[in-house]
Subunit: 247 residues, 2 copies
DNA sequence: CGCCGTGTTGACTATTCTCAACCCAGGTGG
DNA sequence: CCACCTGGGTTGAGAATAGTCAACACGGCG
């Protein structure tokens, strides 16, 4: 879909009609990636940017002993490899969590557009800044929160981000992520994730069964996580009115 | 010093003479910040960017209970608040660790320059990307490494970054950071940092006394940290030839 | 002189990890 | 159709890393 980049940019900043047209005219190829496969490999030098239009993915790094750290999760509308547009080489991999549809947009075209339309470059830069804000939030989450708060925080973040792109249903959402994935994201063992998830459920905050997360009590979940959604927002985007679950 | 931004940009990408002149002509004010004071407050909307020309600082977030997570350290040549150029509001604070000299450059001037000289915008964007790469590396460090490896990694990162700006002396460097700061950066208690630092010294990897870090055995330190400096490098900057300590 | 920030050490606690076994559902091949 | 296999989830027991609390040492500075 050639419109996917326009939609992305408009989430961040308003565009003029001329700018929209320019972006729409960029040749865009679609690509399918199967679950558990890499969309972008660590260390690779992709010649295009890959924008997820459908499906979920994660950024990750592998350690020497084979363990994995998930750096962030990507949802529809997210760009996998903006980094490579400027720094060529990826410093991490991006893997599909379920079957993904990806829009592929050549670097060359984007860089050409930047010359004449710097505002488009600024919009993408802003997107990269929001990505960095998520990294910072995760760092404080992993560095200073208990397992209980970490998991609560992750599930709050997902709710807020998915709500912004219309992927929540009531107070629940679909999340194709295993307990092992959650552990790899939060620096916890699978066993401990499992036990802590049970506690969160028993206390009536949130449950997760067969890839469906149900928020039972948003206020208490948010409090347990010390979750403040402002790090996810651009002041100029159209989704500044955050809606919370009704529970 | 009006030249500080030019130096910064040239670390990232080569500039034409015209571009250099443009950047040099930007009005730049100098500012002094005392140790332990904020250079940029969390939640503020600075109208300028602040570039550290002398001294050390850290990005940080405070938690509800008063604990602190340090998100990264800033050394001479680093920009504190590029984020605010595009997103207005800071999502974290930046505090001086020792007395700092800061170059203050108005947003307005930079944004005007971007219109005519998109390459300058791309250089700063690239700098922001390198910042994000540090965040990702820290996330895997905090999420998956032992206290021992985390501290080793942090001291490796400092050596590499300080070496790139000529702030190492032989196999040692000055580091105005307390053990509490290290704990806040790595998600560890001060007590545990202290004990682990002693182990690192006893095993002959690295020592830290009265703000001086001495690398005793670089190879073993690097191995213990699983440290790979490539995440710190821009492929186009002038400091791609990394030099390691002679020990 | 005494205070304060920093570093150091001991003793005890606890959060989290590891290992290991087991369950269950879904898909595959005989 | 069923046996089997695999990936995910669950549970128990014991071990280990790291945290907390508390006391003390040391040096610089007002």
């Amino acid at each position: 879909m050639p419109g996917s980049l326009v939609r992305k940019l408009e989430q961040i900043t308003p565009l003029s009609d001329a700018e929209k047209q320019i972006v729409k005219d960029v040749p865009t190829r679609m690509r399918h990636v199967r679950a558990r496969e890499d969309i972008v490999c660590d260390g690779s030098r992709p010649p295009d940017i890959n924008l997820i239009t459908e499906g979920f993915a994660c950024r990750y790094k592998l350690l020497g002993d084979g363990r994995r750290q998930i750096l962030s999760f990507l949802i529809p509308g997210d760009i996998c490899d903006l980094r490579a547009l400027l720094l060529r080489r990826m410093d991490h991999g991006v893997a599909a969590l379920n079957p993904c549809e990806v829009a592929v947009i050549p670097h060359k075209r984007l860089l050409d557009i930047f010359e004449k339309h710097p505002r488009i470059a600024l919009a993408l830069w802003t997107d990269a800044m929001l990505d960095a804000a998520i990294h910072r939030q995760w760092l404080t989450n992993v560095g200073r929160h208990s397992a209980y708060a970490r998991i609560a925080h992750l599930l709050c973040e997902f709710w807020t981000r998915l709500q912004a792109v219309g992927l929540t249903r009531g107070n629940s959402y679909y999340l194709p992520v295993t307990q092992t994935d959650i552990g790899d994201a939060l620096g916890l063992s699978t066993v401990h994730v499992n036990r802590t998830l049970h506690v969160l459920g028993a206390e009536g905050l949130v449950t997760m069964h067969s890839n469906v997360v149900v928020v039972l009590n948003w206020k208490r979940l948010q409090a347990a996580a010390e979750f403040d959604p402002s790090y996810l927002l651009s002041e100029y985007g159209r989704s500044s009115a955050t809606i919370e679950p009704r529970v």
